[in-house]
């Protein structure tokens, strides 16, 4: 039986992690169908049909799908479930909110946040904030799986030509009302998908001092991150938080400045390809995961860092 991928979108475009989830779905079974639920989401459905790994698209439209409410989405997906062995989506806030609701309706035990497909019923997933990896095998006939998007490469986004079928809308769930969504707009790359992340910790000592981080981030075209300590101290807003209780990031380059490296922070960044730590405490745990450690006072090192970056002829963006 085929795998059903739940597309995440904003009614106009696919959200990028749909492509990562598509890759994971195709590793479970070559026959991937994708469902897209929304309102006036034809252009996103078209994009979905162009993913070469997707063999068929089911588009379900209704006014009550405009805001992606899980209480509305779950019954529509449950109705499709009988034709599928697996239901797959990203383990971001969209998928985390939605998938357990589907799984409970199907009386199936969900496997959350997998980082590897070992076989169609066996998966690798981090537990204890990534401090241990568990290999789990699900014995449920219907398998509900959420995938950690940063652990799978995005699939090709063009070249496919899947058929788009219309699916049947379900009833509206009237006890939940969407009020508003405030998206944080920024010229910077999004923290979750940025190629470079520059993060500050409690060592920054004040919110004002974060402008040192901003300068470096601007120069490198990087996203700005922070440790929980920096967020708790009020230096920066919480949408910048990297860690077990914030975002998990896997950039090519992660620069940790004035961050000691608490377990919960390491859980959010230690899979980064290259890690740099700048800290005046040579014993700080952050150095145990850093590829390049610099034991220095950040208030001296950061201006020097800017100076050195300015000397470079080119910087990859």
């Amino acid at each position: 039986m085929a795998v059903l991928l739940i597309a995440e979108h904003n009614n106009k475009e696919l959200r990028p992690f749909t492509l990562n989830a598509a890759t994971a779905a195709s590793q479970i079974d070559k026959e991937v169908h994708a469902v897209i639920i929304g309102q006036n989401s034809e252009s996103a459905a078209k994009k979905l049909s162009e993913l070469p790994v997707v063999k068929k698209v089911i588009s379900i439209e209704a006014p009550h799908y405009e805001n992606f409410t899980a209480e509305n989405f779950a019954p529509a997906i449950v109705k499709l479930a009988e034709n599928y062995s697996h239901i797959v989506c990203s383990a971001n806030t969209f998928g985390k909110n939605l998938m357990p609701r589907i799984a409970a309706h199907l009386d199936t035990s969900q496997v959350s946040d997998i980082i590897k497909v070992i076989s169609p019923d066996t998966f690798l997933r981090p537990i204890y904030a990534g401090n241990a990896f568990a290999t789990v095998k699900t014995n449920d006939a219907k398998k509900c799986v959420t995938i950690r998007p940063t652990s799978f490469e995005p699939c090709e986004s063009s070249g496919g030509n899947a058929t788009i079928e219309n699916g049947e809308a379900g009833e509206e769930f009237s006890n939940t009302k969407f009020i508003k969504r405030e998206e944080i707009k920024s010229d910077r790359p999004e923290l979750g998908t940025a190629r470079i992340v520059v993060s500050g910790g409690r060592g920054m000592q004040s919110g004002d001092n974060f402008k040192l981080i901003t300068e470096v981030a601007d120069k490198l075209g990087a996203a700005i991150g922070a440790s929980r300590a920096a967020v708790d101290a009020g230096y920066i807003s919480n949408d910048h938080q990297v860690g077990q209780t914030g975002k998990v990031v896997v950039p090519d380059l992660y620069i940790a400045i004035g961050i000691s490296g608490a377990i919960q922070h390491l859980a959010g960044m230690k899979e980064s390809k290259v890690i740099v730590a700048i800290n005046k405490d040579g014993e700080a745990p952050i150095f145990s995961v850093a590829d390049y450690g610099l034991e220095a006072d950040l208030f001296e090192a950061l201006p020097q860092f800017m100076e050195e970056l300015n000397k470079l002829n080119t910087i990859q963006k």
């Binding site: 357990p100 969900q110 020097q304």
Partner: protein
């Protein structure tokens, strides 16, 4: 209004997790255990709502082995009125836990159920949503602000793109984010008083639910270690390494 708050006993978040050599799990013997951190936020929020005169009773529930009762006792010490301990052995999956809580909801008839958004041991992030599906109640996950209205809650949710606000009619489920509030510490007099508050003990076998695990944990292992890095002498060397060795800038 009556609020049921679910709490879980987990390895304390400051403990360095160690994987057992035989790959059967992580070491829990002689390890400090605490209430799952966002469950503390769930209790705190319920207590705040009661203090504001908008709730009349708070019931704290846990599902687990004998010692799990400590988490209920702690909830009683910060302001819950009554405890429920559903006694079980072994590891339960979120689906089983949500079926157990569903039974308790049918019996206790709360208007709201609060819990943490995720447990920091299995990191599943499922129970609240599953319970909400089983009860066909509205859900507000990852809550960072709750306003109690006449017959509804207005909840701000932390989502990847920023913040989302939803209004959910009561009865409803809310799963709490760490940013919802600052959990208080229990005072010594309140800890003493909590010892006198009632905790109802229920054997899971009396609930008539199939809690057989559906997912087998085949192996638990340490994550791959990062290769040891180097310390650089100065900023110039750092930039040179990033440019020419790592080739990332």
């Amino acid at each position: 209004m009556k609020i049921l708050v679910a709490v879980k006993r987990v390895i304390d978040y400051n403990v360095q997790i160690r994987v057992k050599e035989d790959g059967s799990g992580v070491v829990t013997d002689n390890v400090k255990m605490s209430t799952n951190p966002p469950d503390d936020n769930a209790i705190e929020e319920a207590v705040k709502i009661k203090e504001a005169g908008k709730a009349t009773e708070i019931v704290a529930i846990t599902v687990g082995e004998e010692k799990a009762q400590e988490t209920v006792r702690k909830a009683l010490a910060v302001g819950a009125d009554k405890g429920i301990h559903v006694k079980t052995e072994g590891v339960l999956e979120p689906l089983a836990i949500s079926k157990i809580i569903q039974k308790i909801v049918e019996k206790e008839k709360p208007d709201l159920v609060f819990m943490g958004k995720q447990a920091i041991d299995d990191d599943c992030n499922q129970t609240g949503q599953m319970l909400s599906a089983l009860l066909n109640w509205p859900q507000a996950t990852f809550a960072s602000n709750i306003e109690v209205k006449d017959n509804s809650l207005e909840v701000t949710r932390e989502i990847d793109e920023g913040l989302e606000t939803v209004e959910i009619n009561i009865p409803a489920i809310v799963t709490c984010d760490l940013r919802l509030n600052e959990p208080r510490y229990a005072s010594l007099p309140n800890i003493m008083k909590a010892k006198k508050k009632p905790i109802e003990e229920i054997n899971v076998s009396d609930l008539g639910i199939d809690i057989t695990p559906r997912v087998q944990q085949l192996k638990v292992e340490e994550p791959p270690k990062r290769k040891a890095g180097i310390k650089v002498a100065n900023v110039a060397e750092l930039v040179q390494k990033l440019k020419n060795e790592a080739k990332v800038i």
